[in-house]
Amino acid sequence: MVLEFEKPIADLELKLSEMKDLAKGKNIDLSTDIKSLEEKIQTLKKETFQNLTRWQRVQLSRHADRPYALDYIYEMTNDFIELHGDRSVKDDKAMIGGLGNIDGRSVMFIGQQKGRNTKQRQERNFGMANPEGYRKALRLMKMAEKFNKPIVTLIDTPGAFPGIEAEERGQGEAIAKNLREMFKLKVPVICIIIGEGASGGALGIAIGDRVFMLENTWYSVISPESCSSILWRSWDYKEQAAEALKLTAPDMLQNKLIDGIIAEPLGGAHRNMKVMAATIKSTIKESLAELDKIESNERMNNRIDKFCAMGVVVE
């Protein structure tokens, strides 16, 4: 899939590959042309990706080729074992979790999982967890605390699922309890927005000592589409809504609502999953090294103080 603003780049890339095929097939030397075209592509990429609008970043965060939680986990870890179920109702496949080892250290991974094709997307419920998903996440967090393992959450959701059963089983209560209990965790917690960070559904696994956003993701209280439909009473103002919500990683960092941004490969995470995973992994390792130095009660108090400082009021 190619996004509208990626098109000029994709066109040039197609031309480049044709040129390379031609050079190879007919055995002619086109190296100067190839080189200049490659440079041109690089310049265009830089220009495009350094000047992304907020809405374009939202589109990138939802790119069909974008890596999902399990892609990163398998790329970063050895011996990953997925753990299932909330021990109460069922196994929510929109929320995944398990233990894995990154360079010699065991970590509890938890994240929302989206599907790659229609069948998977249905199975994963488009990354929209039900209450049992949030309860499964909490079960795994408590387990991590019991065995003194750090927690890494990978957030990627268009929201907690709005459905009849979700309400019957207490979607609000499930998220609320996660928020409160995550503040009490005695182990380090690192949260990374890898795609979409929509509202309470995202926050329900995003209370951490360090909260990062990948460069082309969004995190806010509502999606630009829903914001447009409520405030502008039409679905057509999503670009304006995205601007108004200031939902990108640079916005959120500037407002001190997150702790850092993780750079993506030029063109977005989907352009080079391996590089992206390596960057995420080194960020996790660096953060853990910092957090390990802090005594657990102090770490917990710092986590509470950090979130309590968020907000702007006039007195």
Binding site: G163, G172, G200, S220, A244, I304
Partner: protein, 280 residues
């Protein structure tokens, strides 16, 4: 021929001389029962004919709950900033200024510290009239400080929720108020200070997904709409009509997320009984 005769043609009373009938002397419930507002007030704003609980605000709840309506208000002058310079059809500061003028409230929550049948209590109460009772930085900060007060003085905390959810115009900031209030409630929980959450009509969205559902005791007024997602959103998502009574207090009690439902006329005494049970 008529037995009376109009001497002057037309009505001669000038506009200035006309006498007003005061507005709002009578209240009509959704079921059509009509009640005098004075009688309504004496009845905790519950219609005696159909038990309809009229939507009321912090002023009325404080009047019902605090002994002799005496209380100290905390952070009474706190107002919203505009950290995102948010503009939709109007700018956020304009919306705030207009709403303050219209409602005579500074934001969507107020905190009072006082006595309930002689027992100390901290109450934060939301006002739905203020931008749909939406939770922004002011609401979050006021709740956080109310909990600080409860923690410091070891006084039980009562939160009265009435809200459509988070305040969009504060985007990321409003989202983080869910985190902030839950952080403070984690501290209150660890300290063993009682927290009672009263859910009133309506309590939805980010408020349900944070402090409203975190009470040691979650209680609700009858017939209130309580849910995470709004009914319209659910209907549009699943493309089906919703069952009757879905997301009502009674539905939420039935599914195990409330301790009990309480008629507003018995609210004060029931709270007193509960707090006494915890005390002795």
């Amino acid at each position: 021929m008529a037995w009376f005769k109009r001497k002057d043609a037309g009505i001669k009373t000038s506009t200035e001389e006309k006498k007003d009938t005061p507005d709002g002397l009578w209240y009509k419930t959704p079921k059509g029962n009509i009640i005098h507002t004075r009688e309504l007030k004496n009845n905790s704003y519950v219609c005696p004919d159909d038990e309809y609980h009229v939507k009321i605000g912090s002023k009325e709840y404080f009047e019902i709950l605090f002994d002799d309506n005496k209380f100290t208000e905390l952070d009474a002058d706190m107002k919203s900033g505009d950290p995102l310079k948010f503009v939709d059809s109007r700018s956020y500061p304009t919306r705030i200024t207009e709403t303050i003028a219209k409602t005579e409230l500074k934001d969507a929550a107020r905190t009072g510290v006082g006595k309930l049948n002689g027992l100390d209590i901290v109450i934060t109460c939301m006002d739905f009239n203020f931008i749909g009772g939406s939770m922004g930085s002011v609401v979050g900060e006021k709740i956080a400080r109310a909990i600080d007060h409860a923690l410091e003085h070891k006084i039980p905390f009562l939160m009265i929720s009435k809200s459509g959810g988070a305040r969009m115009m504060e985007a990321g900031f409003s989202l983080m108020q869910m985190a902030k209030t839950s952080a403070k409630l984690a501290l209150l929980d660890e300290a063993g200070v009682p927290y009672i959450s009263l859910l009133t009509d309506p309590t939805t969205g980010g408020v349900t997904a944070s402090y409203a559902m975190l009470g040691d005791f979650n209680i609700a007024e009858p017939g209130a709409l309580i849910g995470f997602a709004g009914p319209r959103v659910i209907r549009e998502t699943i493309g089906k009509d919703l069952p009757k009574g879905f997301q009502s207090s009674e539905f939420v009690l039935e599914h195990g997320f409330l301790d009990f439902i309480i008629d507003r006329r018995q609210l004060k005494n029931r709270l007193y009984t509960l707090l006494n049970l915890l005390k002795h």
